[in-house]
């Protein structure tokens, strides 16, 4: 019997590991590793190893459904698409195109995301976004401003060339496990590793210097480090003079911010701040890796800018082993942003409020009336749904009812819509609120390109057919678009990529043909003979005069602080065996079997005062609601702080909607809470 090995890209995190799906008699029968893959070298984390469990899962959606009383009725694709056309069409007719909002998916391919945002904009609604809003919107806003590009500056394997690795607000050992191998390779060659996190994590196990800061005090820590670097003359004066602007103003803004002051705010000893400053600034090549511990704050954009300030004053950019590295959480969250599935950007990060952008795409798409942005962001759409400004939503592969903060109010808002269509692979909490549910294909049941966190674009091939009458998202989007009178004539993903080559300059040279021959390409790749650009900013920045901006970042406290009623700070995050809202991993037997329930980590000294023992059921409550969890007592947790993973529905009942004023990301990482034993 012949076994065919089909190359695919892992459907979980943004590392973009490749593996082969082994197919026999049109069934996926196993996984084979890919030892020559540039990022994973054949390795795969627990989620990647368990990915086929999703492919064959009995709860997969296999037919379009419409709401019928309290249940669901299976319907044909014709009827489903008719209902979608009517639901969205009526909202446009009665309330105008502004009353429709669309959520694209950071799980879908570049081609699918390109089409989803094109569909929204051709319907004349500016309200298109994706869940990048909930993870790296501040990186998009902050890094575009300071460095002129929002992606990771250097490739993942290049971390091995670094001599000092500063990891802040990232538990990469659990969330991007393969990146650990590159950190260790650098350590083997003598690199110093600094980890800043409110919790001891498997990532801090790798640290030489561990900075256990209070949640929400990142700017204070980063400013304190910058102060010490300037104080000791460890800045790169030549680099600052040639490549940047704004240093004097920045220097003035942190003159008072010595390590002692930073220590007071962050709870990190001043000596450790000084050690970290010296290690980072004096190494020949230092890199900063960060993730949602930096971005998911009301000061998210400030945090990102404070990170880029450190790199700019020390000149740790544009060379091997250096860089500013936002680690992105989903397999195609980078691509969804590149494709313009964002409220403030058209494809290729062209600003939605720039008349030039509108003119450009009006010509490219032969569409005279494109909407000017920025539109509503993901979280704002939910607010507008609650207030009645948004009447109809089309949600593709996202689960805001679980992934957004204050999730009880999200559910109410979704249920209040006149019309909601959800396209997904499982009946998620969001789909439960829909009028029509459309069954989609998973990664191995379709083809297309995915862009990983290091801007590497890879083609993923179709291994098997989707179950029942489920269809690839690309086909569904085209059917929906045509039913709404749009001319969406795309026979396959390759034909969409050909259009992307024409309209997104960073992807101009990333053709379907080259992705087949050369395996993968790293954008920007502006022409068919361009080799791609693994390291950004090696010869200046794509900003005025080619200079990056150093930006003063004043410290602001988080939106919520401890109070007598809510004396703890709740911070949220992930574990190695689950992914995001958990609709896939909570259905995957070998993953959920290992981490079956929601837990809350708490310091044993805090627990003792509350009479809580390890494993006790506790109720965690905030102003927004309460959730049950099993207490996990750990010395690695900072006193006064509680940690809960957000893979289970309880956690986001608690989190706050308070958002960054610019990037509109909610502050998932800090809110005030109370913990009590459940008797």
């Amino acid at each position: 019997m012949t076994k065919v090995l089909v190359p695919t890209v892992c459907p979980y995190c943004g590392a973009g590991c490749g593996f082969f799906v082994a197919v026999e008699r049109e069934r996926a029968v196993g996984i084979e590793y890919m030892p020559d893959h540039p990022v994973g070298e054949g390795a795969l984390c627990s989620k990647g190893n368990a990915s086929l469990e999703i492919l064959h899962h009995q709860e997969r959606l296999t037919s379009p459904l419409k709401r019928k009383g309290d249940g669901w009725a299976k319907i044909t694709w014709d009827e489903a698409i008719g209902l979608v056309a009517r639901g969205i069409g009526e909202a446009i007719r009665d309330y105008g195109p502004d009353s429709v909002a669309v959520l694209a998916s950071s799980k879908c391919t570049n081609e699918e995301n390109y089409l989803i945002q094109k569909l929204a904009r051709l319907l004349s609604t500016p309200h298109i976004d994706n869940c990048a809003r909930l993870c790296h919107a501040p990186s998009v806003v902050g890094l575009n401003r300071t460095l002129g590009a929002a992606g990771m500056t250097n490739p993942i394997p290049d971390i091995a060339n670094s001599r000092c690795i500063f990891i802040i607000g990232s538990n990469l050992a659990e969330n991007h496990p393969v990146i650990s191998r590159w950190v260790h390779r650098a350590k083997d060659a003598g690199a110093v590793v600094i980890v800043a996190d409110p919790r001891e994590t498997h990532t801090s196990w790798m640290a030489d210097i561990f900075l256990q800061l209070t949640p929400g005090t990142d700017v204070a820590l980063l400013n304190g480090i910058a102060h010490q670097i300037i104080e000791e003359g460890l800045i790169d004066r030549g680099y600052i003079a040639e490549r940047t602007r704004g240093f004097e103003e920045f220097e003035g803004s942190i003159r008072e911010f010595n390590p002692e002051r930073a220590a007071e705010i962050t709870g990190v000893p001043a000596d450790d701040i000084i050690r970290a400053a010296r290690a980072y600034a004096s190494s020949p090549a230092s890199t900063i890796l960060y993730s949602m511990g930096i971005t998911q704050h009301t000061t998210g954009t400030d945090n990102v800018q404070a990170v880029s300030n450190l790199a700019l004053i020390t000149g740790h950019l544009g060379r091997p082993g250096t860089g500013v590295m936002p680690l992105r959480g989903q397999n195609n969250v980078q691509g969804a942003c590149d494709m313009g599935a964002l409220a403030e950007f058209y494809p290729g990060y062209r600003r939605a409020d720039d008349p030039g952008t509108i003119e450009h795409f009006s010509a490219a798409w032969s569409a005279p009336a494109l909407p000017t942005g920025p539109g509503l962001t993901a979280a704002e759409m939910i607010g507008a749904a609650a207030s009645g400004d948004i009447r109809a939503m089309y949600i593709v592969g996202e689960d805001p009812a679980n992934s957004d903060p204050s999730s009880l109010s999200v559910k109410r808002a979704l249920e209040g819509l006149d019309f909601l269509v959800v396209q997904d692979i499982f009946m998620t909490a969001t789909a439960q609120a829909a009028d029509v549910v459309l069954p989609a294909a998973v990664w191995a049941e379709k083809e297309g390109s995915f862009t990983n966190t290091e801007r590497r674009v890879q083609w993923s091939f179709k291994a098997v057919e989707p179950p029942g009458s489920a269809l690839p998202d690309l086909e569904i989007i085209c059917m929906v678009a045509r039913s709404l009178g749009l001319d969406f004539d795309y026979p396959d993903a390759a034909s969409v990529l050909a259009e992307i080559n024409m309209t997104v300059p960073q992807y101009a040279g990333i053709t379907r043909e080259r992705l087949g021959k050369e395996g993968s390409l790293v954008w920007p790749c502006p022409s068919p003979d361009h080799p791609g650009t693994p390291i950004l900013h090696s010869s200046g920045f794509r900003l005025a005069d080619g200079r990056a901006s150093i930006v003063p970042v004043p410290y602001r406290p988080a939106a919520e602080g401890r109070s007598p009623e809510y004396p703890f700070l709740l911070t949220t995050g992930r574990v190695a065996l689950h992914h995001n809202a958990g609709s896939m991993t909570r259905r995957s037997p070998s993953l959920i079997g290992r981490v079956p329930d929601l837990f809350a980590e708490i310091n044993p000294a805090d627990a003792e005062k509350l009479g809580i023992g390890d494993g006790d059921l506790v109720t965690v409550s905030t102003e927004r609601g309460e959730a049950q969890a099993a207490a996990r007592l750990t010395e690695g947790m900072k006193r006064g702080v509680v940690f809960m993973p957000f893979h289970f529905p309880g956690t986001n009942i608690l989190t706050s909607e308070a958002a960054d004023p610019e990037a509109r990301i909610p502050e998932f990482k800090v809110c005030a809470c109370r913990v009590a034993r459940r008797d």
Binding site: G30, C45, S46, H184, A207, A576, S590
Partner: protein, 145 residues
Amino acid sequence: MAVHVDIDRCIGCRSCEVACQRVHGGSCHVRVHFVGGIASVPIFCHHCEEASCIIACSFGALFKEGDRTAFDVEKCTGCGLCSLACPFGIVWTDKIAEKCDLCDGRPEPTCVATCPADALSADGEAAPRGGQVRAGRSASSGGTR
């Protein structure tokens, strides 16, 4: 021959467990143990030179095959004596004995190939890397650094 662990590199992700389970029809022959929250050590069959499990087995189901401690499922009665005999607690019995076969028939053990942190190797002769010794010491003293 056995799978060797660099404790300094282990990130406790349990990928070895899931991968082992994937290629062994749902049964897993690795257990990742946690020390003090953040230090972690996967425990594998050591394929001992003088294996207690072989001595304990009255039915010849466990035997030496080169460097490997091999297992013949046909001869196993599920009595569980091998589980009691194993000094590392890494042979267990669920109807029949379950133990590491070093992925017989594959080019290398699946756990070694899949380990994201590059913490596992099938080559015990490799020189200890970077912080391996230091990590071992700190794991044995409670798992803090």
